[in-house]
Symmetry: C2
Subunit: 325 residues, 2 copies
């Protein structure tokens, strides 16, 4: 069984050695840039771990693993463009470093590269089945992104709707990564589906943790400033839940900050965080993460494999949820 | 053998009946809109015609045929966004009717839908082979679009480079449409490749004809105003060739119009067209189209099928090149 570090090294090495056409440079330069910025490589690693449950090597599914990472980075590239984000992983985003058209087109090309990588080596007898799982993820993530955008202009988003949005936008790809790894290894449908469920729950907890860090993370370890979600009135679980349970007075205060067009950013972050603190949203969110994490472990437990492999997946999920950045 | 009209009806009917998820409406509304605007449906029809050479029915490859049309419309959607074009097929473009983010995301989703449609029915034993041909087209079209954008800021583009750009951006998909149709029908590699060559040449002639119509088309039948390429200094074969063969005096005049920042549009079109007329670019371009068309027929001739099917493909290509719009 490969360790997490070995798998991470495999993934990064494969990405470093990806062949790019020499021309047009304007197209492949940005793609190489985006893929070289690192990141946690969660999706390919999950796929490789799932495959590794059933097979000793992981080399033969590297193209499919990197397809998922390429797809994920395509979504970040286009999401950053749509959000007008300036920075990603401490580096300028593609539309800032180059321009918007380059961001559109190099994103499109990454999406195609993802499909190309996925079907590059078709010797695996389960490739079509796995490709359909991949398709389910890719379309679902777009649905999730659309809901995310629609929520920006809606005032009646419920916490359930938020959870469904992050299930689509974040969880689906983690769940599918595990399922694809299992499918490519020829696992039973039962195992594949339990791994999927494990990944889906893990993804929800992961995103809630992300939201939590955006408010309560330590900027020094978090790698970016906290409070970004508060400043852009992002309708996270924490905001929606606070709106639901806060006193009338606090609800009004919160709404005033949301509606405000001129304010001192630091002051807004401080004031909204104070309301969060007062309703105890940090603990509520942490409890929800814990609750979902336990659910995810129940799914993992039902996978018919030895405890060693389960422990590795447990450790990985645990590490993601206890992370500080 | 199905007639052109029957195939067109099949394609439009399939598109009309495509199932869309009810939600998110903001995502699937624009996609439905784009696909409903019509167009010549060249790519699916070519694929069906090629398949029809070897098989009596075409119903079983409709998803793959519509995948190509969906892919093609995705490229138009994103190209229009990158070009800031207001209209497409006499209707407002998606980024005008909705907004830029909707155009980005619904385009991304169309690209994924194309792959989804392509691999929806995987019972055909040649599906993987055909998918690889599709991949070659999809990535090549992006390369072509990038060259097209890069040419805008370059002053040393050659006619050869222009021909290579339109080969990638336009021809590749027509060529692959024919090849995929043949591959899915289990045709020999020789036939598939000759059909590919036929489509590649046809695509070049088709694009040159498009450029020609943009200058010399009758606005009444052309469906849009002529002179658009002249106004945006589009480096077409006609412009590049004129720059090459015009007298020094005309070259200077042409350059002045290209560099001009303030001018009466009608006057610019008239002046540039006068230079075109003087060097005889219309005839030069028509001769080039004719020459490439003859080359394409040589490839078609080498396809090992009966004359009836060849005649249908000949008619289709002939109709495209003699069109007035």
């Amino acid at each position: 069984m490969k360790t997490y570090q070995q798998l991470l090294d495999n993934v990064n090495q494969y990405i470093d050695n990806l062949p790019y056409p020499a021309q047009p440079q304007g197209l492949y330069g940005p793609i190489r840039y985006v893929l070289s910025l690192g990141g946690k490589r969660i999706r390919p690693i999950l796929m490789l771990m799932a495959y590794n449950i059933y097979r000793d090597t992981t080399d033969d599914i590297m193209p499919q693993a990197i397809a998922l990472e390429t797809y994920h980075n395509f979504t970040l590239l286009h999401d950053d463009l749509m959000d007008h984000a300036d920075m990603r992983r401490s580096h300028p985003t593609v539309h800032r470093k180059w321009d918007e058209n380059t961001a559109i087109l190099s994103g499109d090309t990454m999406l195609i590269m993802a499909y190309r990588l996925f079907t590059q080596d078709t010797s695996n007898p389960h490739i079509i089945q796995a490709l359909k799982t991949f398709n389910d993820a890719t379309i679902g993530v777009c649905d999730g992104q659309m809901y995310d955008m629609e929520f920006e202009t809606r005032n009646d988003v419920s916490t359930d709707e938020y959870m469904e949005m992050i299930r689509l936008k974040t969880s689906l790809l983690l769940a599918c990564a595990l399922k694809i790894g299992a499918q490519l290894a020829g696992a039973t449908d039962s195992d594949s589906n339990h791994l999927y469920d494990f990944g889906e729950k893990m993804g929800l907890a992961f995103q809630l943790q992300d939201d939590l860090l955006d408010v309560y993370g330590d900027p020094a370890t978090f790698g970016k400033n906290t409070g970004g979600d508060i400043l852009c009135n992002k309708k996270t679980f924490m905001l929606l839940k606070t709106q639901e349970i806060a006193s009338t007075n606090e609800q009004q205060q919160l709404q005033q900050w949301i509606d405000a067009t001129q304010y001192d950013p630091a002051e807004k972050i401080k004031a909204v965080t104070a309301i969060y603190d007062h309703v105890g949203i940090r603990q509520i969110c942490q409890e929800k993460i814990e609750q979902i994490f336990i659910q995810s472990l129940k799914s993992l437990d039902q996978v018919g494999t030895d405890d060693l492999h389960k422990a590795q997946l447990y450790d990985f999920a645990h590490r993601l949820l206890k992370r500080k950045k």
